[in-house]
Subunit: 256 residues, 2 copies
């Protein structure tokens, strides 16, 4: 199925599930929608923290068609599920047409689905996929560079990699700076302030086998955590796993 076709089905309410594994080879992205008054500082937070916040497209005030990643699409309807944040409250919805405002600015951020396909293509195992789980995510003790009132600690994902494949895993993901790039740390969870790999802050714990090294990548949940800490009057994101599927091929985001 082509991305355009999948998005049409989603828009018509014929398709509602998570997007992992669909339209293989096409880049899926995180969605963050904020009021215009937050836009400059949120974009600056991303610019200062490019590993957790790889900006692939920003749509100006009121624009709901992504010009670069998926022309003809509608960001108000084409994710299978959204989360609407109002102050501390969260609501899940299948579309946000009636909530849309002329001062909404939309950020589309790279997602690790892209580099996981590259890892698998190079014969590097991805444990949470093997185990049918969500990737384990941990809030580290490393503060991001703040911007305006946005601040928060770096969130990372962890994938256990056999020691002899760690160099290749670094090289393969380094090619994709637009989707978190090279790992931020190899080896010691305690260096990141992570006490127990079996107790992730989000997602599911996975098996770390004998001879495997935990490898940590910056995670796209980081900017969401920084945003939510501000308890904005209103903000919208995709629901976890229910991404926006673009028309761009993963390879287009390889740096070399």
């Amino acid at each position: 199925m082509e991305p355009r076709e999948l998005r049409e089905r989603i828009r018509e309410g014929l398709w509602k599930g998570p997007t992992a594994g669909y339209c293989p080879g096409y880049t899926q992205v995180n969605v963050v929608i904020v009021e215009a008054r937050y836009a400059f500082h949120f974009l600056l937070f991303c610019q200062r923290n490019p590993k957790p916040c790889p900006v692939l497209e920003v749509m100006e005030e009121g624009v709901f068609e992504p010009r670069f990643l998926a022309s003809g699409a509608d960001i108000r309807t084409d994710c299978p599920k959204y989360r609407v944040f109002r102050g501390g409250e969260v609501e899940e919805r299948e579309e946000i047409v009636d909530l849309w405002r002329e001062d909404f600015v939309t950020f589309l951020l790279g997602c690790s689905f892209t580099f996981e396909r590259a890892l698998l293509a190079e014969g590097i195992p991805v444990r949470h996929i093997e185990e049918g789980k969500n990737v384990p995510m941990y809030i580290t003790d490393k503060p991001c560079e703040p911007a305006g009132s946005f601040q928060g600690n770096l969130v990372v994902t962890m994938r256990p990699i056999p020691g002899d494949l760690v160099p290749k895993a670094v090289q393969v993901t380094a090619r994709y700076p637009g989707v978190h790039g090279a790992p931020v740390h190899v080896g010691d969870p305690s260096e990141l302030g992570i006490r127990d790999l079996n107790a992730p802050d989000f997602g599911d714990a996975v098996t770390v086998k004998e001879g495997e090294i935990p490898v940590f990548w910056a995670c796209g949940v980081t900017p969401q955590v920084a945003l939510m800490a501000l308890r904005p009057q209103i903000a919208v994101t995709h629901a976890p796993g229910h991404m926006f599927v673009t028309d761009r091929r993963d390879e287009e985001f390889a740096a070399w």
Copy 2:
């Protein structure tokens, strides 16, 4: 002389010239200061056009100390010369302390001085340096991706390179995406809408010798042209050649 020392002399009015060739190995940057209401769209223009607009640091509203590139410096006094734009009028000044406003947002953008040092280090000739001239710059017919009300055509610099050194020139500059990166075009000026290499729009014409190919890189004048087209009530830049000298070494901006 260390950058800190040079900036102090500039601040005290003891030093007023262009900065090319000073503090070799330390990155010099372009300065653009805009009112906060332009900040989001200007940053977005840079994000959408990273080759001509490589953002190395953005300082929030009212901040005049560059936190990352030169802590302890003062962006209001530490360039040898500034240009102040008011509507269509331009004024040159040695400092802008009395003009400073709490809603001024400062952008520091990478400059080709960094990759020219890398070219020279690899034995690749840089003609305008050999001839003691300013690099030739041309306004192309290629529109940048607009952002909000910012728009304009790509401006490029040209350096003639012997054909057998063109691949190396591409590779060397590709390592520095933070300072314009790889060339945007090799070979045919007319493909960029440039009619006469001997009539640059800014800077000086240089000799193109037998066997040399004109190689074109994106130029940091591009965002200034887009900004000036809006005739903002007030905006400030460094004066051409009178850059802000940072404490960061050129090598820190190499991508690999």
